[in-house]
């Protein structure tokens, strides 16, 4: 499963052609692995990110999604395989390193400081300054104006960028974090489970921001455990399970049902059914799980048949 095998053919129905095509991948991983002591957290992961494309990383809890993004974001270093940024082999020593290489991460816990005003959060770590030497101070008015403008561009209308960011809703905070990454010239945007804690409507809003970021030419890595969120926006799908890649697909090669089947793992569902059976009782629950096993198997079979 080589990252280079996948070309940039797929265009979604309403997708714009990427503004620029780079001859090399924006970011690519080849056989990347990581272990903590004797625990193998991740092994042999191969994937690529291009501008104007969304690469989805799917997997259940403990599949190694967090480890993967921590490597790309510079919080951890991989100890196997290679990571290329624009064709150059890299190993990030700190989040600052990754940021300087144009890789911005929006974390699950959002990396915002709840008690601080929105504009201070927006520019945290990259403050604008005026003056020089020891008299360098923050350009507060400019920072407030830009925050207001950038958030308006993302569709959030705020009157008061002075309010603590903790007062915003989960979806709005995601949006601030995404707008921040876009503003600071990120080339690659990593989104760590942005829809995990959100309701249906808020999730839809966040998915729209993902597409907006993509249309602005960013390469997006979208981490999620929900294939229904990943499939509509993704161009490529990397499936992880127990720290290993179990599949890397281009959108044209896979359907939502197949993705779901792979994700939910027909095998796991069967196991669950078996365990329920052994416990005895709970006939209603057992019947439901068995029905689902059959459904998943059928879907996988059908789409296989369609392709071959």
């Amino acid at each position: 499963m080589n990252a280079k095998q996948i070309d940039q053919q797929t265009l979604l129905k309403d997708e714009k052609d990427p503004l620029t095509h780079t001859p090399v991948h924006l970011l690519s991983l080849d056989g990347v692995g990581k272990h903590y002591g004797n625990i193998i957290a991740l092994r042999d992961v191969t994937m690529a990110v291009d501008n104007g494309r969304v690469t989805c990383v799917l997997g259940d809890n403990g599949a190694g999604k967090s480890t993967l993004i921590k490597i790309i974001a510079g919080l951890h270093q991989h100890d196997e395989g290679v990571l290329h940024v624009m064709g150059d082999e890299r190993k990030f020593n700190s989040p600052r390193d990754a940021l300087d290489a144009g890789i911005a991460t929006v974390y699950q816990d959002l990396a915002v400081v709840p008690l601080m005003p929105i504009w201070r959060n927006f520019f945290l770590g990259s403050e604008l300054t005026t003056g020089f030497g020891p008299f360098k101070s923050m350009d507060v008015q400019k920072m407030k104006d830009i925050t207001l403008k950038e958030l308006a561009a993302m569709g959030i209308d705020l009157r008061d960028v002075e309010q603590p960011i903790g007062q915003l809703s989960g979806g709005e905070r995601q949006c601030v974090a995404i707008a921040r990454a876009v503003y600071f010239g990120a080339k690659v945007l990593i989104l760590d489970e942005p829809t995990a804690a959100l309701g249906v409507k808020q999730s839809g809003v966040v998915l729209r921001y993902i597409l907006q970021a993509r249309d602005r030419g960013l390469g997006v890595i979208f981490i999620t455990h929900n294939p229904h969120h990943a499939f509509p926006v993704g161009d490529r799908f990397l499936l992880l399970k127990r720290g290993k890649s179990i599949g890397y697909y281009d959108k044209k090669d896979i359907t939502l049902d197949e993705l779901t089947a792979q994700m939910a793992g027909g095998a796991e569902l069967a196991e669950l059914a078996h365990e329920l059976e052994q416990l005895g009782g709970h006939t209603q629950a057992l019947r439901e799980v068995q029905a689902e096993v059959a459904e998943v198997a059928e879907a996988a079979y059908e789409s296989n048949a369609k392709r071959h």
Binding site: Y107, K136, L158
Partner: protein
Amino acid sequence: MALVTAPAPKTAADERVAKRSPLSTLMARPEVGALVGAVVLFIFFASVSGTFTQPNALATILYGSSTIGIMAVGVSLLMIGGEFDLSTGVAVISSALTASLFSWYFSMNAWVGVVIALLVSLSIGFINGWILVKTKLPSFIVTLATFLMLTGLNLALTRLIGGSVSSPSISKLDGFDSAHAVFASSISIGGVEVKITVFFWIILVAIASWVLLRTKVGNWIFAVGGDANAARAVGVPVTKTKIGLFMAVGFCGWVLGMHNLFAFDAVQSGEGVGNEFLYIIAAVIGGCLLTGGYGSAVGGAIGAFIFGMANKGIVYAQWNPDWFKFFLGLMLLLATIVNLIVKRRAELK
């Protein structure tokens, strides 16, 4: 309070973000609770004591406040940055002892001792911060250990070098008079002698406020106290910020230590124990959140002023000074409760 509960404007673009009234914006400032407390206390002492509002008495109160306030500046910043320091009380004395013992033992110019003391004070701060970020132990443990070690070192080294519990007099040394003029003189304003520490205090508060509100380092201080992991993830140098804060506390300790030394000509090696709590109390009364991420330098200054008023006010009111500690405890409790109420009310608005 009537204005605070006034109805929100009806024509808001987003119904969830109603425009705040200027008053509720003011009420959301961290130091407002302390300011209200300070005004109440001032009126109270002014009404029970005729001498309390005399210019000379005010200068004395300001001097008392400044000896707490200088340290409260550093301690407030550190508390906003999410840490606190129990070694500050004895670190002040360590600084003073270093200056006096060094210049006395080598019979050098007093200014040499002053510079060495600055280096020692900054080093104490650096070591506190460095151990903290390397071991990730709570600052309570790290600085408690420093507190005990410095207490011991102060006593042992003073006896070893000077042969007494008090450092030897350095008033005969070269440079003593100029150092005295810089660190311990008085400036006459309209016939009232105001101690120079009051001006140090005001300058330090002004610098700290500017740093906190108008520089990126200030942004980092709020961030490392509010959520260190989030701050690190967006590229804030958390380690440097925390170590820098401990060194700023060290610097404040040096300023106060030099005053303690040059106001007289010797220092008692056992002094300073317990003062660290006064600085922390001043910061907390001033609205700094113990858990970090919220507060102001001005708040710490108001906290120190409340302390100074209570301390001297009891004397001017001709009460028994035994009551002072009780009074301080009560002030701390009331101020923090007022802060809590004001903050909740402001956040609801």
